[in-house]
């Protein structure tokens, strides 16, 4: 009896150890690429996972592990996970405004020599600016995005307007009419929370008033008289109830929710919002959404500035310490290839210039594709400075101080410029 039992136990132990040896053995044959992307504007995680599966089918032996975070958590996740050796991710999604900082730190792989002539010529010239720092390329442009102007066609019709507004003065006037008619409580919704989103909206309005954010020498100049006018307008719109007061705590997704409920006549957002407003499960305004060129202030229009918006592009890069840089780059190439970009164009548009002439793309996106071409020449980038995050945070607080009447717009912006210059001084060496 006893020997039998001991034999039984021994057999079990042997079987278990064989099993446990077997698992790592098979995993070792496989190369795993860890990818981090964004679960917000742009392609959805489901679409990205689908593309990853396609890549795995074409590249046996390579497995793609994806993870997704919200935009506002992405920067902080990246700096803690790719500053280690080896980095936790092979392929990372990097925002336009972080490239200077990450390259300065040496975290991204220089891929200048991997860029083919076909890519150089086929992809939008302006797109390369996103991933290029000091003349070297550190990734593939990915999300060519900018903020668009959306309006609710039904509300405009009911208020008796036939055309969408061209200037912010017209937006204000139409909003007032709709509010007085009782069509909508708060005609405008913006993303003015204490996050990067408020900077995007502020910069859009700044350039729409012929003001500048940072000048060509990367000096903050947004406290110019035109800049102060913009912030004064924002404050007045909140005070008059033409802008939803919830804007002060809203991000892009909150804007989408309010607009999709039909509770706003005007909104600005990234391109992904259009498709989702046409999804009956996500939206109550299906078929009632119009897109128009981002308005500007009258004074700017008189000077020939037809529109102004913010460039919110991002790129995919390989980390400098990645153990499988070739496979990682192959995945990025696949992800950004023209056929894939055209097929998955519902929530973000391709980086390839000639794709915009393709009948397929226009057929898939009859509203957003023509809109992109019209809006992109008026898109403005934020400065590439290594202290951008700190500067941004300072301006976010300044804008909120003005919106909640803790300071006048002039005081708030002057104060912000002064603080940014102090931070910039720390980075001079």
């Amino acid at each position: 009896m006893k020997t039998k039992r001991i034999l039984g136990i021994l057999t079990a132990i042997m079987m278990l150890s064989v099993l446990s040896l077997g698992v790592p053995a098979s995993a070792q044959d496989e190369i795993v690429i860890n990818v981090v992307g964004m679960d917000q504007a742009g392609m959805t995680p489901e679409e990205l996972d689908e593309i990853a599966r396609l890549f795995e089918e074409q590249n046996p032996g390579v497995r793609v592990e994806t993870s997704y975070v919200l935009y506002d958590g992405l920067h902080d996740l990246l700096v803690t996970s790719i500053s280690s050796e080896p980095p936790a991710f092979d392929v990372v999604l990097v925002d336009d405004i972080w490239y200077a900082e990450f390259v300065d730190a040496g975290w991204l792989l220089d891929v200048t020599d991997r860029i083919t002539d076909e890519m150089r010529e086929g992809i939008f010239e302006a797109a390369w600016d996103i991933t290029t720092v000091n003349g070297r390329v550190y990734g593939m442009p990915w999300l060519l995005d900018q903020k668009y102007f959306f309006y609710n066609t039904r509300l405009l019709e009911e208020a008796g307007f036939e055309e969408p507004p061209r200037t912010w003065e017209e937006v204000e006037e139409m909003s007032r009419v709709m509010k007085e008619m009782g069509l909508v409580e708060y005609p405008m919704i913006w993303s003015w929370a204490q996050i990067e989103a408020v900077i995007c909206d502020f910069v859009t309005l700044l350039y729409g008033n012929n003001a500048e954010f940072f000048d060509e020498n990367n000096q903050p100049v947004f406290n110019s008289p035109e800049g102060v006018e913009v912030l004064e307008w924002m404050v007045r719109m909140i005070d008059e109830g033409l802008v939803n007061p919830a804007s002060i705590t809203s991000a892009e997704e909150d804007v989408r929710n309010v607009f999709s409920q039909g509770q706003a006549a005007f909104a600005t957002n990234w391109v992904y919002m259009y498709d989702l407003t046409q999804d009956p499960e996500e939206s109550q305004v299906v078929g009632e959404v119009g897109m128009a060129l981002m308005p500007v202030f009258e004074s700017a229009l008189e000077e020939g500035i037809l529109s102004a918006t913010i460039d919110g592009s991002m790129g995919y890069s390989v980390t400098a310490g990645s153990e499988h840089p070739d496979e990682a780059w192959a995945f990025i190439e696949f992800l950004t290839s023209e056929p894939i970009q055209i097929e998955y164009s519902a929530h973000q548009l391709p980086i390839w210039e000639d794709a915009f002439e393709s009948e397929d793309l226009i057929a898939l996106n009859p509203v957003t594709v023509p809109m992109f071409a019209e809006q992109f020449p008026w898109s403005h980038v934020r400065p590439k400075v290594p202290y951008y995050n700190e500067a941004s945070r300072i301006i976010q607080v300044a804008i909120q101080e003005a919106l909640t009447h803790a300071a006048t717009p002039q005081e708030a912006l002057d104060n912000a410029v002064e603080q940014i210059l102090e931070v910039a001084a720390e980075y001079e060496d």
Binding site: A193, I195, N244, D254, E390, Q400, T404
Partner: protein
Amino acid sequence: MAPNGRRLSDYIRRLGNLEMNEGAFALILILPSVILTLGLILWPLANTFVMSLHESNLARPQRQDFVGFQHYIHFLGNRMFWETIGRTFYFTFVSVGIELVLGIAIAMLISAKLKGWRFLRTAVIIPWAVPTIVNGAIWRWIYNADYGALNGLLLQLGLIDKYIAWLVEPHRAMNLVILADVWHSAPFVVLIISAALVSLPVELYDAASIDGANGWQRFTRITLPLLRPAILVVLVIRTVEAFRVFDIIYIMTRGGPVNGTMVISYLTYQETFSYLHLGRGSALSFIVSAFIFLLALLYVKVLYTEDVAV
């Protein structure tokens, strides 16, 4: 255990043929935990302290200039830092205060064993079982200006005539975050106080009833003094926890609006991980530790100098 231990030590002595005194043997036994303590607590602490004396930026690893106590001086002379500390104290005292009062009241209610007390006991624990992150998300939805439950409820009750953007006003945002924290943490107080209530001697209450003491007198003269050790435990744990509050702020407001909910842990996080100033972040965490240490010292003093055992 003692005879067993001696036999084991004898065995080791014979085995190694070594003359080992009790002290050396004890040292061997505690060595693993000493190594763990040094490696996991003291070394990181020392490392953080050294870092706090340097200008250290995660994105610029090549530069590590020694700056002495400059970071500490920078923060201690900074108005925004003191506003943040003030806000953190406000959060800590208001939220722990409400939790304590509410917790004791609910614990008394449970111990009164009214009809349905078992259900109450279970139901009360649920918020505590919800992860803080989820709790933050729940309350952010409740407070939502355009489709939040709070607006819906108040509107249907006729208390407001249109939806209110609750988190827009900085001070109100702070109070609403506190409310969310109380909802989440009061059950912990209930749990500890309930456990203490069960162990109170029944004879004292019987005697008090015979002497003609009413309910309120019994509560203030018997229950509260007897609960003091439990209350102190709750106070220490919850104060330290509340002072370090981070996750609920991160989820609900990210320190906004206008820094109205910017607490010290969030500021530390922002300096360290958003701006990558490891030196300043380390200095801040040491300052936070100093504050918590002082608070703990205060409690320990009360705990040990007064006759708490009763």
